[in-house]
């Protein structure tokens, strides 16, 4: 079997699916991130933001997942779409970029990561469901790209992706100005992601923010806990004696020790 072979198990999968449909069952749904991710270019760099909910069909699979992936020390990437696809794609590109940067001897550029991602996604014709927001700062300045699953890319000052992208884009369109300060940009991204969290079912929980500029990198997780689970105000357990005890009888169970073994725990 050749390395990395795609169709080896496709036959079996399609056969299984046909069998299950006959019996009225369904194949398990892949875990999607049904997300709101956004990015904005400000005066000294880029701010990337993401929510933290991962869904599996109609159920929340992960209440606090990390959608901002590391590509290189100066480049980060937010991922929407199928969770495994975004995770593996970003890891693969991160490795390739590291090898490339060791070979060239220079800090990697955002445009290189963009080119590698779009070439890979186009090769697989959209079967890899990864919609990405790639942002970073390199020698040429701050850059922000959005990359679609079929391989098209856009280079823009502000981008949003995912199921909550329309809500987040509405906030950006209203409040974006060019050359913002860092605090202003962080607040804007927080507002955009919050709009996605409150108005989209597929996004929820907290807001994660990543600020990348020439001198520093801030990874704030969570930046804002938008959806807090309700806090209980008191103890709801019943005290002993709340229910009246009518009778009480105690009977001893006789145990016979047959065998005794001691197993030491490895606490090193």
């Amino acid at each position: 079997p050749r390395p990395g072979s795609l169709p080896a198990l496709c036959c079996r999968n399609s056969l299984l699916e046909a069998e299950l449909v006959q019996k009225g069952l369904r194949l398990p749904a892949p875990r999607k991130t049904g997300t709101t991710i956004a990015g904005v270019v400000f005066k000294d760099g880029v701010v990337l933001g993401a929510d933290t909910r991962a869904t599996e069909g109609m159920v929340v699979a992960d209440k606090n997942c990390s959608k901002i992936h590391f590509i290189s020390p100066n480049i980060y990437c937010c991922g929407a779409g199928t969770a495994a696809d975004t995770e593996m794609t970003t890891q693969l590109i991160s490795s390739n970029l590291e090898l490339h940067s060791l070979s060239t001897g220079r800090l990697p550029r955002v445009v290189t990561a963009n080119r590698m991602l779009k070439q890979m996604l186009f090769r697989y014709q959209g079967y890899i469901g990864a919609a990405l927001v790639l942002g970073g700062v390199d020698v040429t300045g701050p850059h922000l790209y959005s990359i679609y699953p079929h391989g098209s890319t856009d280079k823009l000052p502000y981008v949003t992706m995912g199921s909550g992208s329309l809500a987040a884009m509405a906030v950006f369109e209203d409040k974006y100005k060019s050359d913002m300060e860092e605090e202003e940009a962080k607040q804007l991204v927080r507002d955009a992601i919050a709009a996605g969290i409150y108005n989209d079912l597929g996004s929820g929980s907290n807001v994660d923010i990543c600020v990348i500029s020439k001198s520093k990198l801030d990874f704030l997780r969570p930046y804002d806990v938008a959806n807090r689970k309700g806090d209980r105000f008191g103890r709801y357990k019943c005290e002993k004696g709340t229910t009246a005890v009518l009778t009480e009888s105690v009977s001893l169970l006789e145990f016979e020790v047959v065998d005794e073994t001691v197993q030491t725990m490895d606490t090193s």
């Binding site: 079997p1 050749r2 990395g4 072979s5 795609l6 056969l15 490795s95 697989y124 079967y127």
Partner: protein
């Protein structure tokens, strides 16, 4: 053209699998599912054919570009080197690292799905050594 597709689907070694007898056992049931005429002729995944020929197509495009820029000598010399380096292989049942070929292609500095998934050096099955040597030497 179904006959064309069938020949594109099969991999190079034409030996039928040396498996036990029985109605289903002559075929890797777990991995390939039930054998049918349709599964033999048509690709099971829309990307199957495109991925199978990906390396070849990329080489073709690259060599064509090189020929247009530098003249016919460039792709000719490179293809000669590729051919020379492809001949350095281990015995047929062992996995060769192809390190010279990878370096020439530039794959030494790239990592892709072929390095992670279905790595032939980690394969659970191995061909029968004596049979494969005999096939290679034409004694079979």
């Amino acid at each position: 053209n179904s006959r064309g597709a069938a020949s594109l689907l099969k991999d190079s070694i034409p030996i039928t699998e040396f498996s036990a007898s029985g109605p289903f056992e002559g075929h890797d049931l777990l991995r390939r599912g039930f054998s049918s005429v349709k599964s033999e002729l048509l690709p099971s995944h829309p990307l199957e054919l495109s991925e199978k020929n990906f390396q070849l197509n990329q080489d073709k495009t690259n060599f064509a570009t090189l020929r247009n820029i530098q003249g016919i000598h460039a792709p000719l010399k490179l293809q000669m080197e590729f051919r020379a380096v492809k001949q350095v292989q281990r015995l047929p049942f062992l996995h060769s690292s192809n390190i010279a070929l990878d370096t020439l292609r530039g794959d030494a500095e790239c990592i892709g799905f072929e390095d992670i998934l279905n790595d032939p050096s980690q394969s659970e099955v191995m061909g029968e050594p004596h049979m494969m040597m005999e096939y290679k030497l034409g004694l079979l």
